[in-house]
Symmetry: C2
Subunit: 471 residues, 2 copies
């Protein structure tokens, strides 16, 4: 039998206050993609800093960047032999459009039927909050934490973390740790716990073609002048070949194939394709031929046009040849693709496809390399046991399709990256009506505490404790 | 030597008032594409009706349609043997976006350096006004017109005249005439008068593909769900083949090839490709291979995507797979292509290209067949002489790339359609900073009067006048 979970009582007593903090934080529209919300992103950082101060962290500070600020906090009294753990999350959120599709306003959070509905509920404020509250609970009930704990809560994750790697490098010593815990992911189902062992990378671009100084009358000029929408559509149409693969020459060169045991693990995962389709709200699946849906969304790189516009898009029709057209094109990357290499490949490929006389402007947006978790590290065993203790079953190992700054975290700080995430497949992150299942939130809070205790117990340095304890 | 032009004195005396009427009319934002401007379109019709009443027309009325109203007026006292002429124009205007590109607000007309700058200045309020003022001038100075004159001023020309053919059919008797004069076109240059002998037709569609009920996270779903922007781009990319021709099977089947003498006439036209490019603000020309620019813009059918949008198009980037994508696709048609046939062809072609599981919605916008002027009709000689008298040279014969309801006018009313148009190639119609060169406006006013006089003289029925005059 497992012992009673140490934070149960704390949660019971503090439930209303914790929910209040959650709703208050979610009211701050910290949309990092929109410069108009820069003040809100800063307010969100200040809010997180206050949460950490009230939790009992000693040293709490905003770390400024050329963009939005990150929040740092530490509590370092577990002793020199206890492991040091860095918890990573982010306090910025995605844009909310299409706003009309929300059942309730995205920044007026509500809890209905055990679900918290708001932009940022699960991605990522809710997941950061349970980490903070787990620390507050342990500090209040036990007066200490089992590990030395640091928090780093980023403010630009939803725009590709453009300043994050630089921040890590500049504050390398401050952020030094033995393991990194990322709470910005999900699991397969409420009763099928899982943890990610790989994350896709991301690189994205705005591509703008300009062929004229102004829109032209399609009757007077159409048929003789270039239409930038035609050229841009040709580029988009050429992104994939007939087998659904990305058609950029060399795109797959660096992709590390799944080992046979990884393919087996993938095949063993419970996956209901009908439920996946229903959850996505689609009536069709498509992608790389000869690949399963699970392979496509987790272990394979992709190219997606996330937005495109040009010309007249209002009511009715307007007889013009547009002067410009713009597409936002993103690539998800897997190990060992490198964003810089893909960026060079893509930009050269686009320029080759646009004829002389049409201007091409390509604006890159961030760049995140794919990440892998070393499953043979002592901290990974601690994570497995913590999840099993809270959810009643050990986690399946998944590959997540999403991208984050985890690769830079692991690489720059030289520590393994673990994923403790309580999101669910139908949480509608990045879409209207984002939600967090509250039962998962409370479990996340318990699991964070369990994980630190397991890490303290598993820490290889702990075997030396007696020699230093008896001088 | 030609006799002095009969309206010279009138113009001299009334110049300020006429300019005032022009500016006042241009202040009405009669954008027919935008339902929010429905009241303005009606106000514009009322304004035109008042102009016609003050000019001395007996019977002036708005003709309602399921959309915007047309304006009708007549003066029928030239006698039963005089020809009856119907003047056609339109009082609605194009949308104004991109509004930021206007040097002065589109509905605050200004006259600078002999040019009137406003939305609708040349397309088509200015051209309707000189016709009305020519009639007013003759009625004021001579007490009569040389022909029986009718006006029909449409309110939905810029949205493809969806109710116009029905209006013509319903009011067939009221609108009966011997010749139709359309003032909604242009000429090659101020000193190179020309008249159109063919107009391209038009049919346009909004095509919307929907693949999901909401935008999806590109990390969680990308690579496995359909991206409607990819499918729409594939459709747009497939619209043209490698030789720049429209790739819809059967699209060119009904196109009547230019006769050798038409090709010669086209080749004889002064055309400065560099000036055309500079005027268009482009650094590249492209289109059907093996065709000259003049052929491409006047005598050949085209396909143009006039607008496309889908997904996230704001600042930065958003990592989604969009739920839908929409394109506005228009076709310019030439004799003897029929809009209904092309519409059927196109809709079936689109549906064949979209896989099951993606919803296709196609909304057609109007449909105008291509038009041709019978150059052997007596009225065409009258037009040639009127233009020569005002501009000092006979008109070259051109084919206009634009589309209008002229085909329906000629077909339903059974009369030849003549084009008296004073627009110039760089008037920026349908684009920001639309203008009218005022010198062309005043010449148009004189030419309208000359044309009616020449028509009265050339009217074949006039030869019978002695027999009826001496009973």
């Amino acid at each position: 039998m497992t012992p009673p979970l140490r934070l149960d009582d704390y949660v019971e007593r503090q439930r209303e206050r914790i929910v209040g903090e959650l709703l208050e934080w979610l009211r701050i529209p910290s949309v990092s993609a929109d410069p108009a919300h820069a003040v809100d992103v800063r307010n969100s950082a200040e809010f997180a800093a206050d949460l950490l101060r009230h939790a009992g962290f000693d040293h709490v500070a905003l770390i400024d960047t050329p963009g939005a600020p990150s929040v740092y906090a530490d509590w370092l009294h577990a002793g020199p032999d206890a492991p040091t753990v860095l918890v990573y999350g982010h306090h910025d959120v995605q844009p909310v459009d299409p706003i009309d599709a929300w059942r309730s306003p995205p920044f007026e959070p509500v809890i209905v039927d055990g679900e918290c509905l708001a932009r940022g509920a699960i991605d990522d404020k809710g997941q950061v909050l349970y980490e903070i509250e787990a620390a507050r609970g342990l500090l209040e009930t036990e007066g200490r934490l089992p590990v030395n704990l640091k928090f780093l809560i980023e403010g630009e994750e939803e725009v590709g973390s453009p300043n994050f790697e630089d921040l890590l490098a500049r504050h390398h010593a401050l952020l030094a740790c033995d393991a990194i815990v990322v709470s910005d992911t999900g699991m397969l189902a409420v009763d099928v716990p899982s943890t990610d062992v790989a994350m896709r990378g991301l690189v994205a671009f705005t591509v703008r073609l300009t062929s004229a100084t102004t829109d032209l009358h399609s009757g007077l000029f159409g048929g003789a002048v270039p239409n930038p929408l035609h050229h841009l559509a040709a580029i988009v149409a050429a992104l994939h070949d007939d087998t659904g693969s990305v058609a950029l020459p060399g795109f797959y060169d660096a992709v590390r194939p799944l080992a046979p045991h990884e393919l087996e693990s993938l095949a063993a995962q419970p996956f209901d394709e009908d439920a996946f389709m229903q959850n996505a709200g689609v009536e069709r699946l498509e992608g790389e031929h000869q690949r399963t849906t699970l392979e496509r969304i987790g272990s394979r790189p992709t190219a997606e046009v996330v937005g495109l516009h040009g010309g007249y898009t209002g009511e009715g029709v307007k007889t013009i040849v547009p002067a410009w057209a713009e597409a936002k094109i993103s690539f998800r990357l897997v190990a060992d693709q490198h964003p810089d290499a893909i960026s060079e490949l893509f930009q050269a490929w686009v320029r080759r496809r646009v004829p002389q006389g049409i201007r091409v402007d390509i604006e890159p947006h961030g760049g995140v390399a794919p990440a892998r978790t070393p499953t043979d590290h002592w901290s990974f065993g601690a994570l497995t046991r913590a999840i099993e203790r809270v959810w009643g079953a050990p986690p399946l190992l998944t590959r997540v399709g999403g991208s984050g700054p985890e690769e830079a975290l692991g690489r720059v700080l030289g520590a393994p990256v673990l994923f403790l995430g309580v999101g669910l497949p139908d949480d509608r992150i990045h879409a209207p009506n984002e939600r967090m299942v509250m039962a998962q939130f409370w479990r996340g809070l318990l699991a964070a505490g369990e994980l630190w205790a397991e890490m303290a117990a598993a820490n290889p340095r702990a075997w030396h404790a007696p020699t230093t304890a008896e001088p």
